[in-house]
Symmetry: C2
Subunit: 104 residues, 2 copies
DNA sequence: ACCTCATATCAAAAATATTTGATCTGTTAT
DNA sequence: ATAACAGATCAAATATTTTTGATATGAGGT
């Protein structure tokens, strides 16, 4: 069973690897076919496939099949979710506890 | 030399590990001393230290020394930066290129 | 059906990240 | 100065992630 922490971590996996950030940068320029990504990136076919899977699993990227070709694009919805989640994970709770350090 | 991708990836490293998400959750309740974190988390002293370093390096957490004790809290500024960066990394460029797939 | 091409999956190797226990450093108290 | 404690750092063990090359799958064309 997947914990909520794992579920959340998965979203940010998209952003914590160089290669994936490079891919996202390319996708910011609009939808791209895997073959286009492949020749802009210093990476083999199976390597690209591996990273694309992580990106799609994170929700930040979505893919569209067109015959033999797969086109990838940034998912507006997925990115909005990531942004919300980031905010949620970093916003102080309403109930703020005293820092009850053992020696105070 | 650190690439811009590595620099950006570092920010999101904070959020892509279960243990660190658990720590952030505790810090959402307000500033905490390492000793408090230590007995709320199933983790040894050096393990906590390791994760706290990653969190502080990401900019998302800041620390404050008070005698022998170190207190950690969520950095508003660092989190705002992470949020901006996330937005930037996922917002389409003004110049959108045609998906020039090799076979179209 | 058969061939070709795009992509996914697999398994092994390589690289990185995390955990653990030991030791070092810096601070406070005596 | 010495002892006691908090936290950082180090090195080794372990686990996870990423890379790579080989093979499988699935679509289109002949």
């Amino acid at each position: 069973m997947e914990t909520v922490y794992e579920k959340h971590a998965k979203v940010f996996k998209a952003f914590c690897d160089e290669k994936r950030l490079r891919i996202l940068e390319l996708l910011r320029g609009g939808e791209k076919c895997a073959c286009v990504l492949l020749d802009q990136l210093d990476m083999g076919q199976s390597g690209l496939s591996y990273h694309m899977k992580i990106l799609v699993d994170s929700g930040v990227v979505e893919s569209r099949q067109e015959g033999k070709w797969t086109h990838y694009r940034i998912s507006e919805k997925g990115c909005a979710y990531a942004a919300e989640l980031l905010k949620e994970l970093t916003t102080p709770n309403s109930v703020i506890e005293r820092d009850s350090c053992c020696k105070r």
